[in-house]
Amino acid sequence: MQGFARVIFIGSVVFLASIEPAFAYLDPGTGSMLLQGILAAFAATAGVVWTFWAKLKQFFQRMGPEDKHSRRSKR
């Protein structure tokens, strides 16, 4: 399996892991479960990236000129 395809496949297999016991008679299908595993991974990654981005924004806002001025005037 070539480079990028290998990454996608292994990533989805790792995230799917032990197949959840089926709630009913239905076979959910490997392809569908792996696809949703990828979506779940993106959701988690997006959550991490979003939190990091929000913190970064907050950090730069604190370092902004208005904040420096207000801190000096408080002393």
């Binding site: 297999v13 995230f15 892991a17 032990s18 490997t30 569908s32 779940a40 959701a43």
Partner: protein
């Protein structure tokens, strides 16, 4: 005559997969058992009021709890027994026109999205869980509703794709009606096989990549991979699940048969065979027939765009089942039934090859001929399609029509008609027995002619009643 208690109870042949319960029939009554596997979810649905809310809105089939005496059979393992009203006419997704399958798909997704707000998830996504009352879809499997578990995946995704999405895509992207393939494979059209056929320009769309190409590829690789590392399953947040459902719903909303594809019926309406007086005479004749017969169920064989089905309903028919082979005609008839809220079920089928009994032991899905219990029928401009178009002998076709219903109207089109002239243009005329006189001879062996009307040079209406 057996009394109700003596009538045998039998399990519906298609009801074997689900361990939460099964469906039984006794005479005209339909029962569903709820076992200990399904009891908890059923109790939650009932006690929270969700069950009655869905039933009063008409989205879910009604049910009432009954005792095992009503079922009349040792209902061992049943915690509850529900009785459902019988649905007038059962049809299968491989008999639905494109427009009906699309309506059913959107109905399933909308219901799932609404139910997720109440923390309910369907345990499957079978197209056979939906029936049509006229053009209105209704969900019939109470036991498919269960509580949603946070982070769970959509287990019905594969089944939804195979039984709803792929058949629709086969028509929308490849221009091929889904019915024959779906009928041959009642579990649905596999994503892997469809993926081979979708043209590249559709395949590269983000939705196709996500729901067709990628799952097909992952399935192939997943089947080859022997071991799977064992780690905790990463949860799929509810918002992401909802987003996926909405995305598919928006996609299906935009799916339509290719515009450039004109069916035989589309051309037919441009070359209509009646003057306005002739059309009025036909309408009057059929109105008289229907008002006199007052059918409970009328079978309109070769229903075209449903205009005579609508006429029949306006003249006292309680329900009409319209059958036609042409996809364009069936879609138009379904849309008419939808927009005008008609009690008209539309079935897309070749009348010379009605869907047979099939599935496990050939019993799961009943033959269309057995499900179609009509007390009246219309066969308007149909005979020549079967006799000349399909080489079926006239006596055989007439015998079949008389078996479909005890009374009806046949519109006979003779060989001088331009339509038949077109059919015989490049063919030898091997139909010496195809004329009105011979039709009368054959018909009067088993029926009497109540009224006859020649509405044009080449067209005659015959109202008959089986003896």
């Amino acid at each position: 005559m057996t009394t109700e208690t003596e009538q045998t109870v039998s399990r519906v042949a298609a009801s074997y997969r689900d361990p939460s319960g099964q469906v039984f029939i006794r005479g005209e009554r339909i029962f569903r058992t709820v076992t200990d596997v399904g009891a908890k979810d059923y109790e939650y649905l009932r006690d929270s009021g969700i069950l009655s809310e869905l039933q009063s809105s008409g989205d879910l089939v009604e049910s009432k709890e009954v005792t095992s005496d009503d079922l009349g059979l040792d209902a061992a393992g049943a915690i509850y027994i529900l009785e459902h009203p019988k649905i007038d006419f059962i049809s299968y997704p491989y008999e639905w026109p494109f427009a009906a399958l699309k309506a059913a798909a959107l109905f399933h997704l909308k219901l799932q999205i609404d139910l997720l707000d109440k923390n309910i998830m369907f345990s499957d996504a079978s197209a056979y869980n939906i029936q049509f009352i006229g053009a209105r879809p209704i969900f019939i499997d109470v036991l498919s509703l269960r509580t949603y578990k946070d982070g769970e995946y959509w287990h019905g995704h594969k089944q939804f794709c195979e039984q709803f999405l792929n058949p629709l895509l086969l028509r929308a992207c490849c221009g091929v009606p889904h019915n024959s393939w779906f009928r041959g494979n009642p579990e649905g059209i596999s994503t892997a096989e469809l993926s081979q056929l979708i043209p590249a320009r559709h395949k590269l769309s983000p939705q196709c990549l996500m729901h067709i190409v990628l799952p097909a590829w992952l399935q192939k690789k997943g089947n080859k991979k022997a071991s799977v590392t064992s780690r905790k399953l990463r949860p799929l947040p509810k918002n992401n699940l909802l987003r996926m459902l909405r995305q598919i719903s928006n996609w299906i909303e935009k799916l339509n048969p290719p515009r450039r594809q004109r069916t035989i019926w589309d051309d037919y309406t441009l070359h209509s065979s009646y003057s306005s007086e002739q059309a009025e005479a036909k309408i009057a004749f059929i109105s008289d027939f229907v008002s006199s017969a007052k059918p409970r169920v009328l079978a309109d064989l070769g229903c075209n765009n449903g205009e005579y089905a609508e006429l029949a309903l306006a003249n006292g028919a309680k329900k009409v089942v319209g059958l036609d082979a042409d996809p364009g005609a069936c879609d138009a008839a379904f849309k008419r039934a939808c927009e005008r809220e008609l009690s008209l079920n539309v079935i897309q089928t070749d009348l010379a090859n009605l869907s047979p009994a099939q599935g496990w032991l050939g019993l799961e899905r009943q033959a269309l001929g057995e499900r179609l219990c009509a007390d009246s029928m219309l066969a308007l401009a149909l005979l020549h399609h079967l006799v000349i178009g399909r080489n079926i002998p006239l006596p055989a076709v007439v015998d079949w029509l008389l078996d479909v219903a005890p009374q009806g109207v046949i519109e006979f089109v003779d060989k001088t008609d331009p339509q038949i002239a077109r059919m015989l243009r490049f063919r030898e005329d091997i139909f010496p027995g195809y004329d009105l006189k011979h039709l009368h001879e054959v018909l009067e062996r088993r029926a009497k002619v109540v009224r006859e009307c020649r509405i044009s040079q080449s067209r005659t209406l015959i109202w008959f009643h089986r003896i």
